[in-house]
Amino acid sequence: MNKGLIITLPRYDEVTEYISQFSKEILKEAHLRGIPLKELRDKGCTRKEFEKVAKGLNYGLIVLNGHGSNTAIEGHKDQILVESGVNEEILRDKITYARSCDAGAQLGHDAMKLNIEGCFIGYELPFVFYHDAERETNPLKDNTAKLFLEPSNAIPISIMKGNVAEQAHENGRKLLLKNMRKALRQKTSDSLGFAEGLWNNYIGQVLLGNPNASLYNL
C-alpha cells in the first residue's frame, strides 16, 4: 500500500457541489503534508477511472464524495463507483471515508469482509446538512453548511495527520457535538433544527474494519 489520497469530486447538483467545494480543506491538508494526491473530478468520476487509479496507484486513503445507498456509492451523475457484490473488494485493506448516505449500512460491511488492515468510515443513515439558499453560488461562505461539513472533513484530515482510524472517527463525532453546542448557544429559531441534523450524522457515523488502521502503517 502506498501513502497517498484518492478523492472523488463530482459536481452536478447542489449536494455534490457543496461536498466537493468543502473538500478543499482536505486537499489543502494533503498538499501541506506532501501526501500524493489523485483527484477524480466531475466527469472523471466514473467506475472505470476509479478502478484504474485505485488499483494502479494503490494509495492507502480513499475519500468518496457522492450520493449513496445501502449498497452503492456514486460518482458523476448516477454512475456507480463501488457496489456490493460487484467491486467492493477494491476498498479492502484501505482506509475509506465515504461522505455518502447509507453506505455504512451494508456496502461498508461487505467491503470489510476479508479486510485485515483497512477500515471504512461512513454513515448508516442519510447524511444531512442544512445550507443557505442565498449562499449557493459561494458554498464556502455558507456558515450553516460549514457546521455540518467541517466535522466530516475532520475525519480524513485527522487520518492524514497520523491519527489511527478510531481517533479520526472520534474526532469527527466530537466536532459534531461541539457544533451542536455552538448551534444551541446561538438560541435562534433554527438552532434546534441544526442540532437535530447534526445528531442524525452523529448517530449515523460508523467505523467498520480495523480501528487501528493508519495511513502511515498500511
Partner: protein, 87 residues
C-alpha cells in the same frame, strides 16, 4: 379489534406527522434548504409536502425527528453534549 388497532395506528401516524410539521414550521427559516442524502435538497415547504404525502422522503424526515426527540427524552442527547468542552 384489528380495525380499531389499524385506526389507532393511523391516528398516531397523523399525530406524528403533525408534530414534525409543527417543528419544521417553527425551526426552519425559508432561506434555508436541507439536503437529505441522495434524495436532494428541500425547502421548508417542500419538506412539509413530502411529510403530508407520506412518501419515502417524508418518512425519512419523520424518523429523523423522532430519533432526536427520543434522544432528548432518554437523556442520551444531553449526556453526549456534556461529554465535550467548548473551545
Amino acid at each position: 379489534m384489528k380495525e380499531i388497532s389499524t385506526r389507532h395506528k393511523e391516528e398516531i401516524n397523523d399525530l406524528l406527522k403533525e408534530l414534525v410539521i409543527t417543528r419544521i414550521e417553527a425551526q426552519m427559516p425559508s432561506t434555508l434548504r436541507i439536503s437529505i442524502g441522495s434524495h436532494g435538497s428541500f425547502t421548508k415547504e417542500q419538506l412539509i409536502d413530502h411529510i403530508k404525502e407520506g412518501d419515502e422522503i417524508g418518512r425519512q424526515v419523520v424518523k429523523m425527528h423522532i430519533s432526536f426527540i427520543k434522544a432528548q427524552a432518554s437523556g442520551a442527547f444531553i449526556e453526549a453534549l456534556n461529554s465535550v468542552d467548548d473551545e
